[in-house]
Symmetry: C2
Subunit: 198 residues, 2 copies
């Protein structure tokens, strides 16, 4: 399979690339790292990316930013950033990517545990993540040519917790999280949010 | 109680006003009907509304537009309209209204059945509704002074189905749906999405 991984240079993205590399051709894209440069908050850049990739069998997105801050500190601009980036960035990867996907291909987006288990400071992220899950459920019903649309909802990732100098014991290693992306790409599920577990 | 009902002239809004009228003071607001004129897609108009209402014990929103259309027909502008209107319009009612709410007050927003049970054409609405549910779960954790934040997820409403000349037998009367708003305003729940049932 020819698989586009957007966010390929991130913690989860690198693990997804490693997990999918055997037997597949990976087309890497990221905002700052290796591969095609793309900022998913910019619809024109997404369309330019797809023009350069050619036909794909799967699109995986592990990119997308959203702001963690107390609700009374989140500004109009913060919400706009979150909506343009992790929310509409991923929605647009599906909208603009549909025609570039082979029959029976798949999109796998990224939501996160805060969609369903919020914490103080997560209002914008919880909104965005839950929105992605709602979009995936609906978009799967309309995708043509047996194309599937799923999301993966990563918990806290061990490597991220370590980088933040937080207790890693509640995290799941990126390599384990990556298996849910593999399951979405290789399996038959559509319209679902996969939750990685140990 | 002094209760602001935004969307008071709509099908559900009128039923909510009727259900809450006894023993409470209703402050009505709507885009085109009676009461304070407000377009929730315009943050400045929301802030102007709150300056005119004075202190409130509860805010109920039954307003908010989103576009029903096939995914491949939804434009960038359609998504922007949905995000500005039913999604950020309701989020901003909470953000800007917090300081106008009395201790122990409540916000009750409106999501809808398409959040969890999508249908072809509902991609943008499902995204928005699910986003509202995620926001409510998170915002409830941060609301100060025992303020509660909930949503109601109406199913198809009998009166709406009749107006659309569709089979009303699958619908729930607006007066029944309104009882979930009463439950949110008068009860103790917070961070939840109430689902009206017969």
């Amino acid at each position: 399979m020819r698989i586009l991984v957007v966010g390929a240079s991130g913690t989860i993205g690198r693990a997804v690339v490693a997990a999918l590399s055997a037997g597949n051709e990976i087309v890497a894209a990221s905002r700052q790292g290796a591969g095609i440069r793309v900022d998913i908050a910019d619809p024109a850049r997404i369309q330019a990316m797809y023009r350069s990739t050619g036909k794909l069998d799967a699109v995986v997105c592990t990119a997308g930013q959203a702001k963690f801050a107390p609700l009374d500190k989140l500004t109009d601009a913060d919400f706009r950033f979150c909506l343009d980036n992790k929310l509409m960035g991923q929605v647009n990867l599906v909208r603009f990517g549909m025609e570039h996907l082979a029959d029976g291909g798949s999109f796998t987006l990224t939501t996160g545990v805060l969609a369903r288990t919020p914490m103080p400071g997560s209002a914008a992220i919880s909104l965005v993540n839950a929105g992605i899950e709602g979009f995936v459920r609906a978009a799967a019903l309309e995708a043509p040519r047996r194309i599937r649309v799923n999301a993966v909802s990563p918990p806290w990732v061990t490597e991220t917790l370590l980088a933040l100098m937080m207790d890693p014991s509640q995290g799941l290693p990126a390599a384990v999280v990556a298996q849910s992306y593999v399951q979405s790409v290789m399996g038959a599920a559509t319209g679902v949010t996969l939750e990685p577990s140990a």
